[in-house]
C-alpha cells in the first residue's frame, strides 16, 4: 500500500505525521519493512528527524541537447518543435562561419523532441545534474529522499525518479509530499493508493485543504484528513469535511511539547510515545477507508 501525506498549505504537519505513521508501523512486525520517501525535494526535512545512515547515492541528471556545429545547418527546426523555448538555432552569418545555437538548460524538459526533429542528426543529448537521491536506513525503517540543487527550477523529474525507487519496494510506502497543489504534488500523489491530507483548523488551512482535495479527486484517489493543532482556530475545516463526506481519521491537539520537540528535530513518537497506538489505528482506518472507496 502506497500512502501519500499532503496538505496544500505548508507547515501543517505533513512531515510530523508521515514520520510518526512510518515509525508506528516499523515497530509492528506484521507490516514488514516500511519505506518512507521524502518527496519534498525543494525543502526536504525528514532526514533531520531520522538522521538515517545512507548506503547509496545517485546523482540525478536529466538530459539536455548538445549540438554538433559541424553538422548543424542552422535550419531552426529544433526551435520550432521545442515547446519550452529551450533551444534556438540560426544559420551562419556568412561564408566560412558557423551557425549559432542557443540552449537554455533551465527551460529544457528533456523531452528529446529537438533531437528527433533535427534533419541533420546534429543534436545529441547529454546529462546535466539537477539534484541527488539518497537511500538508507533509519533503524528498522527504509528511507529515501531527493534533494534539488540550489538554483535549479524543476522538482518534478526528480520526484518521478524517487517514485521509481518506491516501485521496487514490496511493502508499505509512505510519501511525504511537498506543499502546494501544482505539478510536484501531482507527481507525488500519482500512482499511490491513498491521500492523507494534514490540515490545521484555520482559514488558511481550510482554503488550501479544499484545493488539495480537488487535486486528489482529479486523480481519483481515496482521501482522509488529519486535523493537526486541533483547537487553535475555528470549525471551518470540520464543517467542510462533514459537507464533503471526508473522513477525519485523526486529531492531534495543539500541544507545546510537540512543537518544542519538532523544533529540535525530535520525532513525535519520541516526544509522546503514547501516540504510537493512535497512528497504528490511523493506518487501520486508512486501510478500511481506502478499501471502501
Amino acid at each position: 500500500m502506497h500512502i501519500v501525506v499532503a496538505s496544500g498549505k505548508g507547515g501543517t504537519g505533513k512531515t510530523t505525521v508521515a514520520i510518526a505513521l512510518a515509525q508506528s508501523l516499523a515497530q509492528d512486525r506484521e507490516t514488514g519493512v516500511v519505506l518512507l520517501l521524502d518527496a519534498d525535494v525543494e525543502a526536504p526535512n525528514v532526514h533531520l528527524f531520522l538522521k538515517p545512515a545512507f548506503e547509496s547515492t545517485e546523482e540525478f541528471a536529466p538530459v539536455i541537447p548538445e549540438v554538433d556545429l559541424d553538422r548543424c545547418t542552422g535550419c531552426g527546426r529544433c526551435g520550432v518543435v521545442c515547446q519550452y523555448h529551450a533551444i534556438l538555432a540560426f544559420p551562419a552569418a556568412g561564408e566560412g562561419e558557423r551557425p549559432t545555437v542557443l540552449v537554455f538548460p533551465a527551460l529544457c524538459h528533456s523531452c528529446g523532441g529537438c533531437a528527433l526533429a533535427c534533419p541533420e542528426g546534429a543534436i545529441y543529448e547529454v546529462p546535466r545534474r539537477t539534484g541527488v537521491l539518497e537511500k538508507g536506513w533509519a533503524g528498522a525503517l527504509r528511507f529515501a529522499h531527493g534533494v534539488l540543487d540550489v538554483g535549479q527550477a524543476m522538482a518534478s523529474p526528480l520526484i518521478g525518479r524517487l517514485k521509481e525507487w518506491a516501485q521496487e519496494h514490496s511493502g508499505v510506502v509512505i510519501v511525504d509530499a511537498p506543499p502546494g497543489t501544482a505539478c510536484p504534488v501531482v507527481h507525488s500523489m500519482h500512482g499511490t493508493d491513498f491521500v492523507l491530507l494534514v490540515t490545521e483548523p484555520t482559514p488558511f488551512g481550510l482554503h488550501d485543504l479544499r484545493l488539495a482535495v480537488g487535486v486528489a479527486r482529479e486523480l481519483r484517489l481515496a482521501v482522509g484528513v488529519v486535523i493537526n493543532r486541533d483547537g487553535i482556530g475555528d470549525d471551518g475545516v470540520e464543517r467542510f469535511c462533514r459537507e464533503e463526506g471526508l473522513p477525519i481519521l485523526l486529531r492531534i491537539p495543539f500541544d507545546r511539547r510537540i512543537a518544542a520537540g519538532y523544533a529540535v528535530g525530535r520525532p513525535l513518537l519520541e516526544t509522546l510515545p503514547e501516540y504510537a497506538e493512535r497512528f497504528r489505528a490511523l493506518f487501520a482506518a486508512i486501510r478500511t477507508t481506502g478499501a471502501a472507496s
Binding site: 496544500g8 498549505k9 505548508g10 507547515g11 501543517t12 512531515t15 519534498d40 525535494v41 525543494e42 525543502a43 526535512n45 533531520l48 528527524f49 518543435v81 515547446q83 519550452y84 524538459h109 528533456s110 523531452c111 528529446g112 523532441g113 528527433l116 526533429a117 534539488l148 540550489v150 538554483g151 535549479q152 527550477a153 524543476m154 522538482a155 511537498p178 506543499p179 502546494g180 497543489t181 501544482a182 505539478c183 510536484p184 504534488v185 501531482v186 500519482h190 484555520t202 482559514p203 488558511f204 482554503h207 488550501d208 484545493l211 480537488g214 487535486v215 479527486r217 482529479e218 486523480l219 487553535i232 482556530g233 475555528d234 512543537a259 518544542a260 519538532y262 523544533a263 529540535v264 528535530g265
Partner: protein, 292 residues
C-alpha cells in the same frame, strides 16, 4: 521599482502573516500594489479584505489529444513519450495529468492523429483590497506551469505599479526553492525570508539564502515564533551573523496571530500583543531599505 518578495523555503513559517502585516503598515504611508505569487495555495486574499474585480484565463501550455478515428494504434507515440503519458489501447489516448505538452507525439505520429490544444491551467485575478490593488492567481487542480503563472502575476503587478505610480510592490511568495520561487524572485530588488527556530526551518533557510544569492537578490531575515526554541533561535542568529545577513526582527509566538487570521485581518490591524509589536518593529527596520 521598489519590489519586496517574501520567501521562506519551508512552508508554514508565517510568510502570509508577515506580508499582511507589512501591507497594513506600509499602506498607512505609501501607495502599495500587492501580489500573491503562491498560485498553488494563495492565502493573502483571505486577510487583506480582497474583492475580485476581474478574472482572466491563463493558458500556460498545450496538451496532446489523440483523434481515435485517425489513430492506427501503431504505438509510435508511446515509444517517443518520455513522460509515460500515453495510454495504449485499441486506439491510443493521452493522460492529461502526465502530459507535459512537449508535442513530440504530435510531430512523430505518422497518421497525423494527434493535435495540440491550448490547456486552461488557471486564472489570474485582479482584486481591490484594503491596502491597494492585489494581483493573484489560482492554478486549476493539479495543473502545470505554476512558474509561468507566477511570472504573469508579477508582470501584471509591475504594470499596475507603473500605471498607478505606486511606491511599493509587495510580493507574498511560495514555499520551496524551485520554479515558482525563482519566478517570484526574478527581477526583485529585495527579499525577506521568514524563518522559524526549528531544524527544518533553519535547513530550508540556508537553501533559500542560496537561491537568493544565486540570482543576486539581497536577502533579509525575520525570525517568527522566535521563542519556540532558544537553542534553535541561537543557531539562526549565529548563521545570519556569520553570513552577514541582517536579522531584522524576532516575532514571538502569539495566539493572537491565529485569532486575527480567523477574523480575516492582519495581526497589526487590531492586535496590541507581542507579535503585532514585533511586526511594527520589523516595518520600522524594513522601511528605509524598501522605500528608496
Amino acid at each position: 521599482m521598489n519590489e519586496l518578495v517574501i520567501l521562506s523555503g519551508k512552508g508554514g513559517t508565517g510568510k502570509t502573516t508577515v506580508a499582511a502585516a507589512l501591507a497594513h503598515l506600509a499602506a498607512q504611508e505609501a501607495r502599495l500594489v500587492l501580489a500573491d505569487a503562491d498560485v498553488d495555495a494563495a492565502n493573502l486574499e483571505l486577510v487583506v479584505g480582497a474583492a475580485v474585480e476581474a478574472r482572466h484565463e491563463f493558458y500556460g501550455g498545450k496538451e496532446a489529444i489523440v483523434d481515435p478515428s485517425l489513430c492506427t494504434a501503431c504505438g509510435r507515440c508511446a515509444e517517443v513519450c518520455r513522460f509515460g503519458a500515453i495510454i495504449p489501447g485499441e486506439t491510443y489516448a493521452v493522460d492529461d495529468v502526465l502530459c507535459e505538452g512537449c508535442a513530440v507525439c504530435f510531430y512523430e505520429c505518422p497518421a497525423e492523429a494527434i493535435r495540440m490544444q491550448e490547456a486552461l491551467d488557471g486564472y489570474w485575478l485582479l482584486s481591490r483590497s484594503r491596502y491597494g490593488p492585489l494581483v493573484h492567481g489560482t492554478l486549476r487542480a493539479g495543473r502545470e506551469n505554476s512558474g509561468k503563472l507566477v511570472a504573469l502575476v508579477k508582470e501584471k503587478a509591475r504594470g499596475l505599479v507603473e500605471q498607478t505610480g505606486a511606491d511599493l510592490l509587495l510580493v507574498d511568495g511560495p514555499p520551496g526553492i524551485g520554479c515558482a520561487v525563482i519566478a517570484s524572485l526574478s527581477g526583485a530588488g529585495l527579499a525577506l525570508a521568514v524563518t522559524e527556530p526549528t531544524v527544518a526551518g533553519f535547513h530550508d533557510l540556508e537553501r533559500i539564502v542560496g537561491v537568493a544569492r544565486h540570482f543576486q537578490v539581497p536577502m533579509l531575515v525575520c525570525l517568527n515564533k522566535a521563542d519556540l526554541s532558544p537553542a534553535q533561535a541561537a543557531e539562526v542568529e549565529r548563521y545570519c551573523a556569520a553570513e552577514g545577513i541582517e536579522l531584522l526582527a524576532r516575532i514571538p509566538y502569539d495566539p493572537d496571530v491565529t485569532r486575527a487570521m480567523v477574523l480575516g485581518r492582519p495581526i497589526t490591524a487590531d492586535g496590541r500583543g507581542p507579535a503585532a509589536e514585533a511586526l511594527r518593529g520589523l516595518w520600522a527596520q524594513l522601511r528605509p531599505r524598501w522605500m528608496r
